[in-house]
């Protein structure tokens, strides 16, 4: 299915290339300059991946830590959860990136690298969504599971770790996969502070080569490939987890 999609897309792009408005020479791997341009563009992939993966790992952990107080019987804890989610969710990611990179150093006195500023902004923004996903997933687990855990004296942390979260994560896996895809796309915004990821590389190439159509088309395909790989990975994980509990 994925193979067919690729050949269809390549065919479409190549056919369009015949119309005369396209100038594929700019990324034609058969020529030295085209090869170098293509290599330059692809070299951004590693940063896009590092940025997204680091950010999603942090946001999942922060999201879980924010979700748990939201499930507490104590009003104060729940208020903390609501405030965090509402406030963080309300800040546009681009604004958060600018604020963390240009604003936070003035406030804290710590200078952040472009990479870590990007990671912090992306992770912070996403953590509010992760928190809501975890809260919904945990709330969907039957209360009998808690009672059974209590009846064998399992502590709160063991109940979460061994009983509730393994079941909740199975249920929220599709939503977590969604967030990872979203993160990959949003990482393109970190280009504005100079992170040399895919989008930034494309922008720089456009400035020197004046072929935005071809270069941005390649950029679109780069994101498409990354995201299809993530989707396939998530689906594989879903199948494996379901099989183990069949």
């Amino acid at each position: 299915m994925m193979k067919r999609l690729f050949s269809f897309l390549t065919l479409g792009v190549l056919m369009a290339g015949c119309s005369g408005n396209w100038g594929w020479y700019v990324v034609n791997p058969a020529t030295t300059s085209g090869y170098n341009n293509l290599k330059f563009m692809l070299s951004g992939a590693i940063y896009t991946i590092q940025l997204s993966v680091t950010a999603i790992l942090i946001s999942v952990i922060v999201g879980l830590l924010v979700a748990l107080p939201g499930l507490s019987e104590k009003k104060g804890w729940r208020a903390f959860n609501r405030t965090y989610v509402e406030v963080v969710r309300a800040v546009p990611i681009l604004v958060l990136i600018l604020w963390v990179y240009y604003g936070l150093p003035t406030l804290s006195g710590i200078t952040l690298s472009v990479f870590w500023a990007g990671v912090i902004a992306l992770a912070l923004s996403d953590s509010a969504f992760e928190a809501e996903i975890f809260r919904a997933g945990i709330q969907s687990i039957d209360k009998g599971q808690y009672e059974a855990s209590q009846s064998i004296s399992l502590s709160y942390s063991d109940t979460m770790r061994y009983v509730i979260l393994p079941q909740a994560i199975r249920r929220i896996l599709p939503a977590l996969g969604n967030q990872l895809v979203y993160m990959l796309k949003m990482s393109s915004l970190v280009s504005v502070i100079g992170m040399q990821e895919l989008t930034r590389k494309a922008n720089e190439l456009v400035v020197s080569e004046y072929r935005p159509l071809e270069i941005y088309t390649i950029l679109v395909l780069e994101y498409l490939v990354l995201i299809l790989i993530v989707s396939a990975g998530v689906r594989y994980l879903e199948r494996r987890l379901n099989a183990s509990a069949a």
Partner: protein
């Protein structure tokens, strides 16, 4: 039959509310070590709430509950102590669906009692043999019949080696042909001397194993007596009516 020593469970004037609804109204009950008590009554009479207060799955609002010398409070150490002493079996089994049968049994022994994996597995298998399904050890709960699942749940409780076992309508969610296999396990457990409090409408089981019958209605204990007495001549009219209803269909 009743011992002269202190009761292992003593409930004094226990009340419990759910909002405005009074689930328990000044309930007092003593249960001796090794005693088998069957609690029955119409739905909403407070019988489940009564036993859920004993391991504090529900917190009572007033009165006193003493289990094995410890007065129940919400305090963490007390809870750990009580729940180590009292095991519970639920109507809906509440097995952990993502763990195998053996993992369901060994989670408590390993994480709470600190047994090694080897010792916990040995203990798990011992109790699976006791409930007669050792061959199901590596299956997942959903691959088992309802009767087998409930027997796993009983074994899971027994793995914590409790002194008291609570059963909250253990056969109500089961198909009729599976009720017997669960009751057989419970009967065997009763004969081994376990202190048991069973909420059930299985009157055949009650007649066979109960030392004491407790009849509840509207949050109160209406009648307590030996089964041979209450089945032949219940003292209260309400209990008589209730017994007729469940025995005559």
């Amino acid at each position: 039959m009743t011992s002269q020593t202190d009761p292992i469970i003593a409930m004094r004037d226990v009340s419990k509310f759910f909002g405005d609804f009074q689930a328990l109204n000044d309930v007092s009950l003593d249960i001796a070590l090794g005693e088998r008590v069957v609690v029955c009554g119409p739905s909403g009479s407070g019988k489940s709430t009564l036993i859920r207060c004993i391991n504090r799955l529900e917190a009572h609002e007033s009165g006193q509950i003493i289990v094995d010398g410890t007065t129940l409070t919400g305090d963490r150490d007390t809870l750990d102590k009580i729940r180590g002493t009292v095991g519970m079996v639920f109507q809906q089994f509440n097995l952990f669906p993502h763990l195998t049968v053996l993992e369901n049994l060994t989670l408590g022994p390993r994480r709470v009692l600190g047994l090694t994996e080897k010792d916990a597995n040995a203990r798990g298998m011992k109790y699976l043999e006791r409930v007669q399904i050792p061959d199901q050890a590596n299956k997942f709960p959903r691959q088992l019949s309802g009767g087998q699942q409930q027997r796993v749940a009983i074994a899971r409780s027994l793995c914590m080696e409790p002194r008291i076992m609570l059963f909250d309508e253990p056969t109500s969610a089961l198909d009729p042909e599976m009720i017997a296999e669960v009751l057989d396990v419970m009967t065997e457990l009763a004969q081994s001397g376990m202190t048991m409090i069973v909420v059930t409408h299985e009157m055949g089981f009650a007649r066979r194993v109960a030392d004491k019958m407790v009849f509840m209605d509207k949050g109160e204990i209406v009648e307590v007596g030996a089964p041979e007495d209450v089945f032949t001549k219940p003292k209260s009219e309400r209990f008589g009516q209730f017994l007729q209803q469940i025995l005559n269909h």
